[in-house]
Amino acid sequence: MWDWGWVEHGIGSFLRPAAGSSGGGAWILGTGGGSGRWHAGVALGVTAMAGLALAATLVISSRRGSLKSPWSRRKRKHPLTRQQWNDFFSPDGRLRGGGVKFLKKVRSGGIDPSIRDEVWPFLLGVYDMNSSRAERNAIQVQKRKEYEKLRRWCQQHLKLSRDDHKELKEIVEMGNADSACFVEGRDSVCSEEVYCAQESLSIEQGSTEYGTLEQPVKEIFASNLTTVDEDVNSGLTHLDVSEDETESSDSKSSIEEPESMLVSSPAKPNMDCRFAKISSVKGNITKANRTAEDFATWQRIIRLDAIRANAEWIAYSPAQAAIPEVKALQSAGAVSLTDYDDLEPCRIYHAARLVAILEAYALYDPEIGYCQGMSDLLTPILAVVEEDHEAFWCFVGFMKKARHNFRLDEVGIRRQLNIVSKIIKFKDSHLYQHLEKLQAEDCFFVYRMVVVVFRRELIFEQTLCLWEVMWADQAAIRAGYGKSTWGRMRLRAPPTEDLLLYAIAASVLQRRKLIIEMHSSMDEILRECNSMAGQLDVWKLLDDAHDLVVTLHDKIE
């Protein structure tokens, strides 16, 4: 029966343009009717495709065995293989054609697990699609240094707060004296190298009281202006600058992208005018919403959460699962992680990596800092990317969008819930009316899916698949491959920034009958959503999501 389900869907959408509005597959099955040859041809096509699907299924299921969901009716398309990946590159290590074909491949079938660590940095914008191998090497060196600097800062903060925890706490509660501690820290870093000090200062100021932020940072950027020409390695800064320009041209993100600019590469010529905007945003929004959370709080919660992080990654990453105890304890010691009790070495090691990177991130993006749920987003990256500094920048790339999920002012979440609600409204007015009746049309029940990007609903391997397909969409948009590019390639769904939201709506729509007939309150729907955990099939979900994109993206976006 499963193959008919597949065929119905696949062919149905294939025929839809020719056949007008008679969507769905029922009529395809009834091919014996009066229209003669044409339908017979369709039937043949149906049979052939069913055969192909079956063959592909056999290959894939024999290869991936346990990785596919037992509920799967739809089978995943072929993932990007190592061979294909290598073939995409020209001799100087550039992706041919700016990576269009590569992205197309990932969008439809994901990536083979053995090459994820090489491919993800491209999807997450760590490397530009058009970069050469030499440029990437240079970027890697630079990014590594930046990460190590952030780590040194974390250590100093930790040392300060450990040295005199209580006193510091009192000072912080009193108001703005924490900046004094940071100044002390800065000086010691300053003595190492001037370049570093400038950057460190911007980092440090970003995490102190916002009221005192503006002037010093302006000075830093002003001083950077004079050193830009010497410092800029065009290969290094090209990526950052072009990305930031894209963002700042987007009115929505001009408000939402402040902190990462503050603390990334100091060589940004037009930063200070942008900063004026940032500081006013901070004054109005962040300061008003600021809670007692500060860096010391984050350091504490990060450690508490790291040792109880989800351990599903272990089966995925045998090398890290087999980490020797000595090394695990060493990593824990390096980030002053102590309360791991009787945790297995691999989980201690993983927890230590979580702490290192989350802490660095909190410093890098102090507006967001740390929020529970962020470790859910980092864990899969750690399982795939073995070097901390690379994992950090991949995480930064992921968080460029996901950071809005953790904002104090809820804007990011509300926008997304609103889109899910709209998708459901346009697609299924019956279900939407039911939700309205229950006062659940705000779709709050999918909140968790939005915040941790389906990590709690999908099994580990399937989460990775969803994310990389989603990232490929975002990378395509970032690289400027709009709808026309994909139209030419006969890919049905154009890339969208919000594939996740279409997938979330799809998961709800898959349960529409149950929700309409059985659930009479928001609580029950939320429980239904929670109980999707482990029951979803990512490729079916993506197919449904892509169908929604095709029919609705003009109305939604």
Binding site: E293, I301, D305, R347, L408, R448, V451
Partner: protein
């Protein structure tokens, strides 16, 4: 409808700082399981438990919430009643970690917020969790107890790890809610809880991962 009317449903919301053991308390109570490394709760999860008190079957709808303060800005959806009123038929179970006085401060903060937002006679119960750790060090709950008295709440020592004190907490909550309900029956017959279709002994929203370190 008459059988429905007998099935009383009460809402219960667990509030408290991160990692004080909210999820563990609920999972111990509802499913009698305990995980040393319970994953962080994001947003909130929802479980139900049916119990009988003095011959009256009642259902507790339990909302387990995320601990980090930031999530609480996200709309009080889980303590909103169907009619949009706050905590009319709802109890707050405030949880803190007995070994960490900061988490008790967080309870006090919650109480303040609830008192401002909810009706005056909101039922509040405090659970001083991780009582199994008392053996290693003496912790003073005197202050917490007298504080509980001042706000009209009851304080229970609990250990989700060993399962001690847990039933008492929930039984007390249920009994107090029932009492409240009964006394409100004296007046104009109030709307009964909205629904009666409740599954007994729900699955937790997420089982601990079956896999283990190799």
């Amino acid at each position: 409808m008459s059988s429905r009317a007998r099935n009383l449903t009460f809402k219960l919301v667990l509030l408290g700082d991160g990692r004080v053991g909210k999820t563990s308390l609920v999972l111990r109570y509802v499913n009698n399981v305990f995980s040393e490394k319970q994953e962080t709760t994001v947003q909130a999860s929802y479980l139900t438990k049916r119990l009988v008190i003095g011959g009256v079957p009642i259902t507790l709808s339990i909302w387990d919430t995320a601990g980090q303060e930031r999530f609480h800005a996200l709309g009080p959806i889980y303590y909103r009643d169907a009619d949009g009123m706050y905590l009319i038929n709802t109890t707050a179970l405030l949880v803190y970690d007995i070994t960490d006085s900061d988490t008790f401060l967080r309870v006090r903060k919650w109480v303040k917020e609830l008192q401002q937002m909810a009706s005056k006679d909101i039922v509040m119960v405090i659970a001083a969790n991780k009582s199994d750790l008392i053996r290693s060090k003496k912790y003073d709950i005197q202050e917490a107890e007298s504080y509980a008295t001042t706000i009209g709440a009851k304080l229970f020592l609990t250990s989700a790890k060993f399962g001690t004190g847990i039933n008492d907490v929930f039984l007390d909550i249920a009994a107090r809610l029932l009492q409240k309900k009964k006394s409100s029956f004296q007046g104009l017959s109030p709307a009964l809880p909205r629904k009666g279709i409740i599954v007994v002994d729900d699955e937790p929203e997420r089982e601990p991962p079956p896999k283990c370190c190799s």
